[in-house]
Symmetry: C2
Subunit: 392 residues, 2 copies
């Protein structure tokens, strides 16, 4: 199976052709040979598939009629409201995951990591839904699944056993959530999830909303356990608002520790919160990935799964204006995400998996600030979306 993608501009460079064989990039350069299928890119800019490192496929209301937000301002409000509405609104995880995957594909995302709620009310239903949706969309999207104790772990007995079961039944990572701020027992929480990770030889991705010094100490606890278990490179912290704290000297110390333990940071860059400073982290050698997080769900009505627009938000948040800086914003949503998800053979080189996005833009910077409709999206060399719509 060969596909010749003619007249495209890799990262906005000169016009060339890309030959794809068996789902991989076989050659970039003026086409030398015939191919079974030829697609004309019309001089579009081509970039590697966008990577969304933190979503909740099971939560989105995408495709449903409008539902006004009901939850109060605290984390507790959001958790209990969601657990209730999941039943009241008949939120089928499989159906909603498919809506999200199709939306993400339409936006040019070709790989993502999704958390899935595991709790004593809904058990493993969410995981089962996501596994079914993942199987159906295997040709469209690479998906990692995190077994996520959204309703708490130590405060909700039985959850640890469910996580254990989830990890034995298809979940790829262990999740965690605010070990002290929500779960009230940081030592118990972290010991439990690191033990599960160790038992199943699976990585960890922990939600850490804890702010300022609270999150800073929890970050140290995570670093200590990562080093003790030799889990360098296998742990990620999502949100990490504490890294946006005022005391930059304190943050510099944490950054050095994160780098030493090769712990990645995943951020959706919410404009209402302090956020990690991506370029400081990257300079210190910490992997940083961008993410959509909530997409129109009971947590937040915003979100559209557009990782190009997310790159724009990232650039604006850091006041990046030069082309070279805006390119970093896109890097966080492509190569940065790939490094966190551990995608092998990712990018625009011979041998890389042919996950490609075409947009009408002169430069990468223009693609980020304009976030134009995705003209074509290829997953392993197969067209999966065109003109902003998923084909599947």
């Amino acid at each position: 199976m060969t596909l010749l993608l003619k007249n495209v501009r890799p990262m906005g460079g000169p016009v060339t052709d890309i030959l794809i064989t068996e789902g991989r990039i076989a050659d970039i350069g003026p086409a030398q040979a015939a191919a079974e299928t030829v697609v004309d890119g019309g001089n579009a800019l081509v970039m590697p598939g966008l990577v969304d490192a933190h979503v909740h496929l099971d939560k989105t209301l995408w495709g449903m009629t409008w539902r006004g937000h009901q939850a109060g301002p605290t984390l507790d409000d959001k958790i209990s409201t969601e657990r209730r509405l999941r039943t009241e609104w008949d939120l089928n995880p499989e159906r909603q995951a498919e809506q999200h995957i199709a939306l993400s594909a339409a936006m040019g995302t070709t790989s993502l990591r999704s958390h899935v709620d595991i709790d004593t009310v809904h058990g493993l239903k969410g995981l089962e839904g996501l596994l079914a949706a993942r199987a159906r969309y295997a040709d469209v999207m690479d998906i990692e699944i995190v077994a996520f104790p959204q309703s708490g772990l130590m405060i909700r007995p039985g959850t640890a056993e469910l996580l254990d079961e989830a990890l034995a039944n298809g979940a790829d990572l262990v999740g965690g959530l605010d070990p002290y701020g929500l779960d009230r027992d940081p030592k118990g929480h972290l010991d439990t999830i690191f033990a599960l990770a160790d038992k199943h030889t699976k990585p960890i991705d922990i939600h850490l909303h804890e702010g300022d010094e609270l999150g800073a100490v929890t970050t140290e606890m995570i670093v200590e356990r990562t080093l003790a278990l030799g889990m360098e490179g296998k742990v990620a912290i999502s949100h990490a608002f504490c890294l946006g704290m005022q005391d930059r000297r304190r943050v510099a110390g944490l950054t050095e520790k994160l780098a030493r333990a090769d712990i990645a940071i995943i951020t959706s860059m919410p404009p209402s919160r302090p956020v990690p400073v991506a370029d400081e982290l990257r300079s210190a050698g910490v992997r940083v990935a961008g993410a959509s997080d909530n997409v129109r769900d009971t947590w937040a009505p915003y979100g559209n799964a557009d990782m190009l627009q997310r790159a724009m938000h990232i650039g604006q948040r850091y006041n990046w204006r030069m082309d070279a800086d805006i390119e970093v914003a896109l890097d966080i949503c492509t190569y940065g995400g790939a490094a966190v998800l551990g995608l092998r053979e990712y990018g625009l080189s011979n041998g890389c998996v042919a996950d490609l996005v075409l947009v009408e833009a002169e430069t990468v910077a223009e693609a980020v600030v304009a976030a134009p409709v995705r003209k074509q999206v290829f997953k392993r060399g197969k067209l999966v979306a065109a003109n902003g719509k998923a084909l599947a």
Copy 2:
């Protein structure tokens, strides 16, 4: 001239019809009579025309090939880089203003306030260009023009005389810019622009980037002069980053003073800066308007003149999730802007000017979070944009 707009949902309410006579709303309700023209709104949500209270029509590079950002991080860098590139890149203010107006119309903006650079290098050329563009697009957009000393006033002798000339020749407001931070003589700067406003009986709109206590004192200076000259209701402060300062008690005092002097606040809500807290200001009775500010110019490569997306940014910045809160975000970009620009007969009632925007959305909140393509835009009852494209 009568137009019957059938099957629309005012602010997402029940389906009804809007009868428009001579550019004004004559009736909202099931159509009783025939009209010369009938348009089917297809059950779209209809809202009043969006208001963009702070743009720079003369600066945008919209419609030109991509130009990488060149200016350094300071205000001085941006000012001197722009003054240079204006010549090097042959930035024709009339041509660029027309590009911006067409873009804004396509996004559903029907009224805007634009600053125009007045300096000793380019003189009144910018004003002349904007006046020509405004005349050509008179049926599409209501435009207020602020004579703006972008390169400084006290530090650039001859500028005050040019502002005086601009106000005598079509500029509607006097502008100002960081009286101490940039212009180094706050007393001289403010005395000069208030004297010009007094002489020409025209309002004031001052750019105030000055942060924290610096901007706080300048705000007090502006309040004092407003009260002394009886200019209550005639002064606006754009940006006002100082109102985002940590010391909320200090801000509360300033807010009370702003309310007393009826000074309006205009904000584009930049995600990299502290920003005024809109609901606190509104609760105190201060008029607050939303704005695009820079749209792909030598100051910033971002921006698309989309005031629905701006409402989304405003909602996200303040962490507004409830429908009622998200409606406030839109209010800032509609009625809030209208109150700052002093638009009379604005809104969706009988007798109001028929500036209308139709979008496919169930509710106002959905219109804000999704910022869908503008299906139809009417200016004084005349169709000026459809399916996201300006007709002119």
